[in-house]
Symmetry: C2
Subunit: 91 residues, 2 copies
């Protein structure tokens, strides 16, 4: 599991659509599709229900979304927080 995968996952969950998610991420569709698949494989879980209209979260997917947002938020907070203090010792 990587931070990119989590980021892609959240984008797809929000858009309900791999194509739009990919455009938002400024990356090609297949890259997103693959990473979602990999993530599902690693977790041993189906995160989305595939429909010809797009992707809809499964119930494990809904659960994972909450965690995913928390993780990305924690990462952003860590960066912001460290950058704010860190100017003292800038190598």
């Amino acid at each position: 599991m990587s931070l990119s995968q989590i980021q892609y996952f959240v984008a797809v969950a929000e858009e309900g659509h791999v194509g739009r998610a990919a455009r938002g991420l400024r990356i090609a569709q297949p890259a997103v599709s693959r990473q979602i698949r990999r993530l599902e494989d690693e977790l041993g879980t189906v995160l989305f229900v595939r429909t010809p209209r797009g992707m809809r979260l499964s119930s494990p997917g809904e659960l994972f979304l909450k965690h995913a947002r928390g993780i990305l938020g924690a990462v952003s907070a860590a960066e912001r927080d460290v950058r704010r203090v860190g100017s003292s010792g800038t190598r």
Copy 2:
């Protein structure tokens, strides 16, 4: 910033020693050293004070350590939680 980097960072912070951290991670020393360096570069901050005895956390490093543990904990929780529920839809 990647999850591996965060994991390596925590290991080094706990050991105060790149070599021991690397052994614990079952990975070679330079790999750890490089990732720590990369992390510092990305954050624009020095996370460790280098001494001839090993590595000691700087004060931004101490701050980052708290965040880092939170992130890794959140990732583990997400995995565990989803795996617990996810057996319903196992592809």
